[in-house]
């Protein structure tokens, strides 16, 4: 394993991103279609990725309506073939909807407020990535109460995050700073009650800032 490759982001591999090549999210484009505000945003018409997404949504909409309007299998078959290019992307979104990750409790026990794990994990990985010479890997967030807790248990949370770090950090120093920043982000950015932060340094980044000056060549 190359030492400077960030550790795998396991949740992101499972949960396909909906960011288009232009940086817009598919869901934001579709939201504009739903709201009828596509004309207000010149980017949507000018950008090939966004206009393709808009067109695809039209195809999907058409497809779903026709599917519902007719029982004729032959017609359904033809429509299915026409919509194949859309299907993968649609199924990605559906899968993401059906598997958003565990809901984590927000706020007080009496409040029925939740934040899905994938959104919390993304926030904490960004905190780690923002530190010099640190790259985040996988991050899981779960109740301190542990695996026995029911899916919608309320209570304090534990964060487990894997990072790769440059040699400028000592592990205790890195753990102290990262733990402090994650706890603060949990409180100030999200509103989650994070009590425990487990940090695993799983890899070393060698001269991450400047690959050309890596002292020992490319370790394999």
């Amino acid at each position: 394993m190359a030492m400077n490759v960030p550790p795998p982001r396991d949740e992101e591999a499972e949960v396909a991103s909906d960011v288009l090549p232009c940086g817009r999210t598919l869901s934001a484009v579709w939201e504009a279609c739903d709201d009828g505000t596509t004309a207000a945003d010149p980017h949507l018409a000018a950008c090939p990725h966004c206009s393709a997404a808009v067109a695809d949504l039209g195809v999907l909409d058409d497809f779903v309506r026709r599917e519902r309007a007719t029982e004729a299998e032959a017609v359904a078959e033809a429509e299915r073939a026409r919509a194949t290019s859309v299907t993968d992307r649609v199924m990605d979104l559906v899968r993401r909807e059906l598997r958003p990750g565990r809901p984590l409790p927000l706020g007080e026990p009496a409040e029925d407020l939740w934040l899905v794990e994938s959104a919390a994990a993304r926030t904490f990985r960004a905190v780690a990535d923002a530190m010099p010479g640190v790259r985040a890997g996988s991050c899981r967030v779960a109740p301190v109460a542990g695996a026995g807790a029911t899916a919608e248990a309320r209570g304090p949370l534990r964060v487990r995050i894997e990072v790769a770090a440059g040699l400028t950090w000592t592990v205790p120093e890195l753990a102290r700073v990262l733990r402090e920043r994650i706890t603060r982000a949990a409180r100030e950015t999200l509103g989650l009650d994070v009590r425990v932060v487990d940090i695993a340094v799983v890899d070393v980044l060698v001269a991450a800032d400047d690959d050309a000056h890596r002292p020992n060549g490319r370790p394999r």
């Binding site: 999210t25 869901s27 934001a28 579709w30 939201e31 739903d34 779903v64 599917e67 519902r68 649609v90 979104l93 559906v94 909807e97 059906l98 958003p100 809901p103 927000l106 706020g107 409040e111 029925d112 407020l113 939740w114 934040l115 899905v116 994938s118 959104a119 993304r122 926030t123 100030e188 950015t189 999200l190 509103g191 989650l192």
Partner: protein, 113 residues
């Protein structure tokens, strides 16, 4: 085409409630979008419902449960947005529902964008 609930005939109220809840939620500062609700679309609901809102109704005693899934804009504290949405949706729902009805509102943030 509106489909009436076999025993209560309350589905039109549920639709109206869902639409009001969606509008109230969208107006809250920091809400990016309500979840698209594709799974429901593909299951073939026979009338359009607002995305990201689910309304459930029980009788005896009359009870309504509204569930919202939404994304929050980065730079807004997730908890504060969720709280504001919950209060705004409850207030909007109260205008539609009879005073004796019990109401619960659940908010799940699915993304920060």
């Amino acid at each position: 085409m509106t489909r009436h609930h076999p025993t209560t005939g309350r589905v039109p109220t549920a639709d109206r409630l869902a639409q009001r809840a969606a509008r109230a939620a969208r107006e809250v500062e920091g809400v990016a979008y309500l979840r698209p609700g594709l799974a429901a679309l593909l299951r073939g609901a026979d009338h359009p419902r607002p995305a990201g809102v689910r309304v459930r109704h029980r009788t005896e005693p009359e009870r309504w449960a509204i569930e919202l899934h939404l994304a929050v804009l980065a730079g807004h504290r997730a908890l504060d947005v969720a709280r504001t949405v919950r209060a705004a949706v409850a207030e909007a729902a109260r205008e539609t529902l009879p005073a004796r009805a019990r109401l619960s509102v659940k908010v799940t943030i699915t993304n920060i964008t």
